[in-house]
């Protein structure tokens, strides 16, 4: 009987350790959420994938990087079988950049190599997230979700410019990209 109570006591102690492990993981998530306001892409917004090219925010001449009146940098792009448009994104270093993207056909997604920028693109929905690129340089941006037999060829690029160089690139209202012309 006493050996059984020893066993139960050891189980209790372990249960407390388990409780502490789980709570500390959850606390880290809550802390990060509260103090860095960090969340996974979290806006839900619908859009009709059939008419993206005809009207609305994702018409071709509105895609690329824009600087709003209040200085906010927004990158708009679409994914389609089998390219992102624009194929080369131009962004500033050290300034928060908001991505707004959607798909014209099937499910796509992208991550920017070497950064935490990562989202799914589901037809019918606009994906939005904000990130800051620390250093100037060039990153690869592959489609990371199977989208058909050309999936392996769906690679874009992100070029990060020093903030002042980026500002010199264009004034308000322009849509910037680094697609060669």
């Amino acid at each position: 009987m006493s050996s059984e109570s020893v066993a139960v006591a050891a189980e209790r102690r372990w249960a407390i350790v388990v409780g502490l492990i789980i709570s500390s993981i959850i606390l880290v998530m809550v802390f990060t959420g509260l103090h860095w306001a960090a969340m996974p892409p979290s806006r839900v917004e619908t859009v009709d994938p059939r008419t993206l090219h005809v009207s609305g925010e994702f018409v071709e001449n509105n895609l690329g990087t824009s600087v709003a009146a209040d200085g906010k940098v927004v990158v708009r792009l679409v994914a389609q079988q089998y390219s992102f448009h624009p194929q080369c994104l131009l962004v500033p270093a050290g300034i928060p950049v908001t991505f707004r993207a959607t798909s014209t056909d099937v499910i796509h997604g992208f991550n920017v190599a070497g950064t935490n920028a990562n989202t799914m693109l589901i037809p019918g929905f606009v994906a939005t997230f904000t990130t800051t690129f620390r250093n100037p340089g060039e990153h690869l941006m592959p489609c990371h979700e199977y989208c058909g037999t050309g999936h392996e060829a769906m690679w874009a690029r992100v070029r990060v410019l020093p903030a002042d160089e980026f500002r010199a690139k264009g004034g308000r209202g322009e849509r910037l990209s680094c697609v060669p012309r």
């Binding site: 066993a7 959420g33 892409p41 190599a113 799914m120 019918g124 994906a127 489609c143």
Partner: protein
């Protein structure tokens, strides 16, 4: 065993045959996309192979192993003949028929949608119907598990259900509810389009339904391994089970918490709100509780075995363990892989950290390590342990069995560790080839080669498994009577709630409705989220 031997054996053989074919496909995929091979001349063949590999490994193999092991447990733990033998065979043949029906369009390139379906991509209706048949076959198994338990209870009023059977039925109920998500996705959303009645599909809603199944299915895969941890391992290595109650607690916690957490697969998706993403993240943390409890209980049970063999000291007992015993080796390897994979899993489930690795090779590495490693190595151990009972064969060749387990362990680490590494660097998964001449990818080329070599070791290990089982079956012997593990403190009364399922199944369903009800309902109501279907293949 009574009369389920042939039934169980049939399940195991078909599972391992499918496994052997799928592993060759997997290794072929690894080689053709590595620097060892030129770019495959038709990338569609690569994705076709991924579809076949995933369908076999995720749906066919674990389902058949769980079903076969479940029937065996019924007779071994309840000590009475299986009720409903005809139905069990019907379920088996449905699963076989479904597998064949799904294989044909995949082999013909008419269903290259990967085993995760990915609507609005739409493949041949036969592919989806085949998977439905496999699942319906497994539902027959679920019903039989419940019926057998009830029959036993009637004959033993008030008795405590044997732990193995308790875990087995928990696994069956878990699967019954888990499979509902994908079943709705296929029957309600995909099939009407695949059959040509509709041209649009709600891709976002389909992903939510699939996530319902996709995460909890992992715990269905895992149940046989955990049942083996609790009820076979301690006996096989000459020890005692530290706590019978803890096993029950672990099983019911899986029942409650494995379902309503699948949205952590959708952290990066734009169709689910941030609030539900957090709730699912928190509940995912909860599902690690049963695993942590299991790690403690099994480690303690193993220590008991060591001390019974004269082990001394705080860590000195490790030396006294029966390392030459294949079951000892299997559980040690399984725990190492469970530990590494679990640590990676904490990254995946973390609300924010997931952004770093979502959909990269890290994820491929994670689930191969957890399922292919920690769980499947226990499937091997279960087969080795049951084989003498099923075939009446002589003891298995321990040396070969150890070699098989070692090669599986080493191969799996060589396969998955490089994947984890390049995943952090941002390498996307599921690509038919990479351009290794690009400066940014050149540095990652060796990791793909390393994984391909790991895969080759795994293929050898799988061949060894089939050889061992085949050879042993042909060498008759007189097996000992099968026993499950005996707990250290037997005869302790089990709380009524841990001898039944009503409470836990109720909590499982209620929590699923709370956590999934709103996201599903609102996407179902939104009309504008239906998008044109994209039928795969040539016209």
């Amino acid at each position: 065993m009574f009369h389920a031997k042939r039934l169980v054996l049939a399940h195991f053989w078909v599972a391992f045959a499918a496994f052997a074919v799928a592993i060759l496909l997997g290794e072929w995929q690894m080689i053709v996309r590595s620097p060892l091979h030129a770019w495959i001349s038709n990338p569609e063949h690569y994705y076709r192979s991924v579809t076949a590999h995933g369908t076999a490994m995720a749906y066919v193999v674990p389902t058949l192993v769980a079903m076969g092991f479940g029937y065996a447990i019924c007779e071994l733990a309840l000590r009475r003949p299986l009720v409903g033998m005809r139905w069990a065979w019907a379920g088996f043949w449905l699963a076989i028929g479904g597998t064949l029906m799904a294989s044909a369009p995949v082999a013909a390139g008419r269903a290259t949608v990967l085993y995760t379906f990915y609507p609005p991509l739409i493949g041949s209706a036969f592919y989806y119907l085949g998977i439905v048949l496999v699942v319906v076959g497994s539902w027959i198994w679920v019903a039989l598990m419940a019926i057998n338990l009830r029959a036993w209870r009637k004959a033993h009023p008030g008795a405590t259900v044997p732990l193995a059977m308790y875990g087995n039925v928990a696994g069956a109920y878990l699967w019954a509810w888990t499979s509902v998500g994908a079943a709705i996705e296929i029957l309600v959303l995909i099939l009407p389009v695949a059959l040509g009645f509709k041209d649009t599909i709600d891709a976002g809603l389909a992903r939510v339904f699939f996530s319902w199944t996709l995460h909890a299915i992992v715990y269905f895969w895992l149940m046989p391994a955990y049942i083996a941890f609790y009820t076979i391992v301690p006996r096989a290595i000459g020890g005692r089970l530290y706590s019978d109650t803890m096993g029950r607690v672990a099983f019911v916690l899986f029942l409650v918490f494995s379902m309503p957490i699948g949205i952590h697969h959708l952290f990066a998706d734009p169709q689910v709100g941030a609030g539900f993403k957090f709730v699912h993240a928190l509940m995912t943390a909860m599902v690690s509780v049963p695993t942590l409890l299991t790690v403690f209980t099994i480690a303690a049970s193993v220590e008991i075995a060591a001390r019974l063999r004269g082990g001394r000291g705080a860590f000195g007992w490790l030396e006294a363990l029966p390392w030459e015993n294949p079951m000892m080796l299997a559980v040690a390897f399984s725990f190492v892989m469970l530990g590494l994979g679990g640590a990676g899993g904490i990254i995946n489930m973390s609300y924010q950290l997931n952004e770093t690795i979502h959909n990269t090779q890290w994820v491929t590495g994670h689930f191969h390590l957890m399922f292919g490693g920690a769980i499947v190595i226990m499937y091997f151990a279960i087969a080795y342990d049951l084989w003498p009972q099923l075939t009446g064969c002589a003891p298995l060749p321990a040396g070969l069995v150890r070699a098989q387990l070692w090669t599986w362990f080493v191969g799996m680490l060589a396969l998955t560790m490089p994947w984890h590494l390049v995943g952090i660097l941002g390498m996307p998964r599921r690509m038919a080839y990479y351009d290794y001449t690009h400066p940014a990818l050149e540095a990652q080329a060796w990791t793909v080669t390393a994984s391909a070599l790991g895969g080759a070791v795994l293929a050898v290990s799988a061949a060894l498994l089939v050889y061992i089982l085949w050879r042993s079956q042909r060498r008759a012997g007189t097996p000992e009577t099968f026993e499950f593990s005996i707990p250290v403190h037997a005869a302790a009364r089990v709380p009524a709630a841990l001898n039944g399922f009503a409470l836990w199944v109720g909590m499982m369903i209620a929590l699923t409705l709370v956590n999934y009800g709103f996201p599903i309902a609102q996407l179902a109501v939104l009309k504008e989220t239906s998008v044109p279907a994209a039928r795969v293949g040539v016209r």
